[in-house]
Amino acid sequence: MTARPGGARVVDLPAGYRDDPPGQAGRAALLAAVLSDPRCGGAPARAAAEGWRTRHRLDERCSSFAYWSPRPAGAAAVLDEIRRTRLPAGSAGESVLAELRARQAAAIEGRHAAPLALIGRALERAAWGAPGHGLLGTPGTLAAVSTTDLAEAHELLVSQATVYHSESEPAGSAAPAPRPARRDWRGGLDVAAHPGADARVGVRLPVRDSPPEVLELLVEVLGTGPDGRMHRALRHHSRLAYGFTVACWPQPGSASIGATATVAPQHAAAAVRVLATTLRQLADGAGAAETGLARWRCRAGLLAELDGPFGAVLEARRHARGERGARQRLAAMARIDTLPGLAFAPLPPAVAAVGAFHERHRAELADVYEEIR
């Protein structure tokens, strides 16, 4: 096989959740739901009929749709298909909209959400406090969005859409990605009830500005698999967890690094202590051997990402928007031989726990939070 299998397109509509009109929070997400529902014809209907894979990301100022077709040119005219996507006329459209509103309302409450998504959301609350902008809105604001509002937004945004493919125009040809709004770290403990045998805990620590490639390499030092520090700390030294994740948020001015673990509810507090301790040990940096292995893993992961069905088109999009691409990240990492110590900001940690906790577990979590803060 000499050519990459399939073909992908990304379509950006230039309005995100921060562009929702007053009183209509959640409108961008609702419009995205319409544009992803096969009953609304156009792109989602074709995607469903032909087995395309799709992906949607909603950020502050952009609603981004990705399409992959097994035929290289299959999704070439997807913008025309998006243009034709709309709610059915009359009561049928009202009925579809009501269903999409209900689905979004369920998502707002976290119903049907995966535990990893729930712990991520709880960590966000613990880090930043109640979000000023609800990405999905509220049942009340969703009710205020009419079929006419959505049709008008659709027409306007599709006329301003940008389409990317793997050979998109060179750097800076598209509107640059806006800087995320600066937020003030609050820190705190957020415990949420969720049924099931497993609990999830998470710790997120704010850091002083650090180059993104340093943060990414430190995430690999902690390890996304069994070769890192976190696996040894959680499984072998303390015998606490089954799975874990480590991630960083490298935004300038509000960078942070964090980890989550899947544990039995009675081990939640102990796992929080291990996560916090292991994260804070990054203050000592990492030696050449550990850095070298982390760089190898990062490089392997980034190159695999580029080979993903959406990899080439997303790289072209980053390039066109003047964002750091995988190649730039790889070049920056190649220059790091030993990782410097991470400077943590003198702010309280964000700690979250999601699970079927008894009062005793909650009290232990409160105690351990006081201990590590």
Binding site: P5, A197, R239, T262, A300, A304
Partner: protein, 370 residues
């Protein structure tokens, strides 16, 4: 283009992909939960956990692997840097030969604890065990309930010696397959990594252990299920559609407001069993089952199926769109010897009362028309 090699008895396939940026590798070892000794269920899973660990100070390390213990095989997969594929290839050669860093008590008990957490999920959700139980009852190939037979008690009984014995019995170059995919630039590095004199260790004849007695799931009742036994690795859009979401059994049930409580596929070495389970009365399903087997099942199934595109499903194309996807697919599909082919295609209807499946009807399907 696929290049074939052998390293110490281990068959290796390298797919050269001119468009690839990354390197993917997947090792399938013909040793899975079915090879657990009776009373030590969980040993193969624990072996997998210990195999993926590496101590960079003790040998090749740094390449994170994802691993899954199946019924007849354990698959290890990972992505690598094409500029230095040796780390990943040598790591997988060590695993194929049953070599892993010695695990001290902390490591062994830590990994046992992780396996216990995974196993306890089945205790909280007994339905997770029902699919394998039904598959074992439906298939002629033994041991399809091996994973579900694992309990927290059996995992607690597993000793380091049990794991070592299982590795010595089941891990060898001749009982494994290694699949690699990457850009042309990796060919020389791959060849060099495969030239190590001790590549796959000594080969030990594979000696499967007899499957344990069938277990039951007390407390699980008021359930009805349909199983479809079919040959593993023999593509059949008609059989896919027969128990598909829109097919003549599941689809009609959904139209009546009966959505499946759960669905799964259990794969052995030669057979696979698709399972769908519903809550409630078996009578409507008995009628539907009788209609399907009395009529032209293939026509009924195909009428509900999406037309295949270009001879290959979109799912398959998506799965194989990356180097890691291609090698993973190959590792999941490869056939180990001695794989006695099975031609059985059989649909069965079951009622589950107090955790025991009772067969209400069984119908052997004819070979499909092409």
């Amino acid at each position: 283009m696929i290049r074939r090699f052998e390293s110490g008895g281990l068959p290796v396939e390298l797919e050269v992909l001119p468009w690839a940026c990354s390197f993917g590798a997947a090792l399938a070892v013909g040793c899975g939960s079915r090879d657990d000794s009776a009373g030590r269920e969980g040993a193969a899973h624990l072996a997998e956990h210990l195999m993926v660990l590496s101590d960079p100070a003790a040998g090749p390390g740094g390449a994170p692997l994802l691993a899954v213990t199946g019924i007849d095989r354990t698959v290890y997969r990972g992505v690598g840097d094409p500029d230095d594929v040796g780390i990943l290839v040598r790591r997988l050669l060590d695993i194929a030969g049953g070599r892993c860093a010695p695990a001290g008590p902390d490591v062994f008990e830590g990994e046992r604890h992780a396996v216990l957490l995974e196993t306890s999920r089945m205790d909280h959700q007994p339905l997770l065990r029902l699919g394998p139980l039904l598959a074992a009852a439906a298939a002629t190939e033994p041991g399809l309930d091996a994973i579900a037979a694992t309990t927290t008690e059996s995992v607690r009984r597993v000793t380091p010696a049990d794991v070592a014995e299982l590795i010595a019995r089941g891990y060898s170059g001749t009982n494994a397959r290694l699949f690699l995919a990457g850009p042309p630039s990796v060919i020389r590095d791959v060849e060099a990594a495969l030239e190590r004199p001790d590549t796959a260790g000594t080969t030990t004849p594979h000696r499967p252990v007899a499957a344990p007695d069938r277990f039951s799931l007390p407390g699980l009742g008021d359930l009805v299920a349909v199983t479809l036994v079919r040959p593993r690795n023999v593509p059949s859009p008609a059989l896919d559609a027969l128990l598909g979401d829109r097919g003549p059994i599941v689809g009609l049930g959904t139209a009546d407001g009966r959505r499946p409580l759960g669905r799964t596929t259990i794969e052995g070495r030669a057979q696979r069993v698709d399972v769908a389970v519903w809550r409630g009365d078996a009578a409507p399903f008995e009628r539907r089952f009788a209609e399907v087997v009395a009529g032209d099942w293939q026509a009924l199934a195909e009428a509900s199926a999406s037309p295949p595109r270009g001879g290959q499903t979109v799912d398959g194309q998506w799965r194989r769109a990356t180097p890691i996807g291609r090698v993973s697919d190959a590792a999941d599909r490869c056939v180990f010897f001695p794989a006695e082919p099975s031609e059985l295609r059989q649909l069965a209807l079951w009622r589950v009362t107090d955790g025991r499946p009772e067969c209400l009807a069984r119908h052997r399907l004819g070979t499909e028309r092409r």
